[in-house]
């Protein structure tokens, strides 16, 4: 079967690492006092094609087709870098993660995996907002704790990553922990 896989396409669901975040919700709260905002953002690099022109309608259709559609609210935004964002808002982190997975699969179907930048999940920390950033390309997470003036609290990020070593598929190359400054994401704080 393995040999035929290239012919029939990948059987395994893409972005399998994503679901780990939903499973880690309790650990995040108990070990690190990080509480999910139950929001998410999926960032992509748009192209001038029909796929991206019809994104609004298709996202709506896909999210409705899922199990949790009633609750998933979404909006499309553009940021100053020219990247597009699908902003998600739901009653549970699990639903948000599932919505991101659904949208990721939709991009993959359209052969637009390359255009997927990252998914971002905001959390309320004890002192400040923290984010887990998911890289579609690497199928891994890394933490991001921004400070004012485009600085970041790297010691805190290292602490978060260390504590979640078992629960999350982490990006081990620290050089790839790229920040996302000024996301259009609204948080609950």
């Amino acid at each position: 079967m393995g040999l035929l896989r290239p012919l029939f396409g990948q059987r395994k669901a893409p972005f399998g690492g994503l679901a780990a975040l939903a499973r880690a919700e309790t650990a995040l709260r108990e070990k690190l006092r990080l509480v999910s905002d139950r929001k998410g953002g999926l960032s992509y690099k748009p192209l001038q094609t029909a796929f991206f022109d019809g994104l609004q309608g298709e996202v709506d259709r896909r999210l409705r087709a899922g199990r949790f559609t009633v609750w998933t609210r979404f909006s499309l935004e553009k940021d100053s870098y020219g990247f597009g964002w699908v902003l998600l808002d739901d009653r549970s982190l699990e639903n948000v993660v599932e919505a991101v997975q659904t949208l990721g699969s939709y991009f993959a179907e359209g052969n637009h995996t390359k255009q997927l930048l990252a998914a971002v999940f905001p959390f309320q920390g004890r002192e400040r907002q923290a984010y887990w950033i998911y890289s579609f390309k690497r199928d891994r997470f890394y933490p991001f704790v921004p400070l004012p003036d485009e600085k970041r609290d790297s010691p805190e990020e290292l602490r978060l990553a260390e504590a979640m070593e078992k629960e999350l598929p982490l990006e081990s190359a620290l050089e790839r922990w790229y920040p996302l400054w000024g996301m259009p994401l609204e948080t609950r704080s």
């Binding site: 050089e175 790229y178 920040p179 996302l180």
Partner: protein, 302 residues
């Protein structure tokens, strides 16, 4: 070097002179061997001196260009200038030019042949990662390099190592062309060539190791002297810890910018006295931090 009552570590100074003495011994041995084999070494020495002179007089511009650094005016970087103004006043130094290199790697270095023609350069990466007091401590370290004329000293020390390398090169060519037989001892050409060649290699390796040792001592000296300018060795210690190891590897440049540019970022070779270098021209950060902590106990009473 101007002597100062404070900020001078005598043990380090003695060790530095010892290293320089050993360097001289090695060079002397080298020159003797060359003399014995009748190589026109004066000719090579002149070429090496010209190249070294160029490097010496152009070093600041070369380094800044290789880093893509831009000299900034007080209007462009008021806080940085104010910081350096304060430190120079305290250290009794003429104010160097200030430059900023737009790169995410946290680094700082000083270059220039004398205090009047010096440039201190910091990267945007180091400014983003350090607190103002830590940045001040790093600048104090760099200003001490200028005060101690470390660029000149290391350039001078490199002189003979470079000469050895050039000779090694030209001997290889001579060997290939078979033109070495015109030495003093006819028929002994090939064996003689091998001996000179091996000795040259040895000299080159040993002298570079000694230069690295010299450079490491100068780093300790700059940590020490810089601490006396700022009075905050513990800040330099925390700055060093921050810009080495894990935290330095975490980028501060936006993912969208990196994705958009799609650029291959090549880390340029650094010259001059950078605060952090990959090679062992700098002592291990841990050791530097230990020394700074000890110093902090003495002068900060922590």
């Amino acid at each position: 070097m101007r002597e100062r009552a404070t900020g001078r570590d005598w043990e380090l100074t003695v060790r530095m002179f010892l290293v320089m003495f050993l360097l001289a011994l090695v060079y002397f041995f080298f020159v003797t061997v060359l003399w014995a084999f009748g190589v026109p070494w004066i000719f090579l020495a002149i070429i090496a001196a010209i190249m070294l002179g160029l490097q010496y007089f152009l070093s600041d511009k070369l380094v800044l260009r290789s880093m893509g650094a831009k000299v900034v005016s007080p209007q462009e970087a008021p806080e940085l200038h104010a910081m350096v103004d304060r430190l120079c006043a305290r250290a009794g130094l003429p104010k160097p030019k200030l430059a900023i290199a737009n790169m995410d790697i946290p680094n700082a270095f000083a270059t220039g042949r004398n205090p009047k023609n010096s440039v201190v350069c910091v990267t945007t990466g180091i400014m983003r990662r350090l607190e103002p007091q830590e940045l001040e401590a790093v600048l104090g370290h760099e200003l001490t390099h200028i005060k101690n004329r470390d660029v000149t000293i290391i350039t001078m020390a490199s002189f003979f190592a470079m000469l050895a390398a050039m000779l090694m090169n030209s001997l290889m060519w001579m060997g290939l062309l078979g033109g070495f037989g015109r030495g003093r001892r006819e028929g002994n050409g090939m064996a003689g060539l091998m001996v000179v060649y091996l000795v040259t290699v040895l000299v080159w390796i040993v002298s570079n190791l000694l230069i690295l040792a010299l450079s490491r001592y100068r780093e300790y000296a700059a940590d020490w002297g810089g601490s006396f300018i700022t009075g905050m060795p513990s800040r330099l210690a925390s700055a060093l810890t921050k810009i080495s190891g894990a935290i330095a590897r975490i980028p501060t440049e936006d993912l969208r910018k990196v994705e958009g540019a799609n650029a291959f970022f090549i880390v340029p070779a650094l010259k001059g006295n950078s605060i952090m270098e990959l090679l062992s021209s700098h002592p291990p950060v841990q050791k530097r931090v230990e020394r700074l902590r000890r110093l902090a106990k003495q002068i900060e009473g922590i």
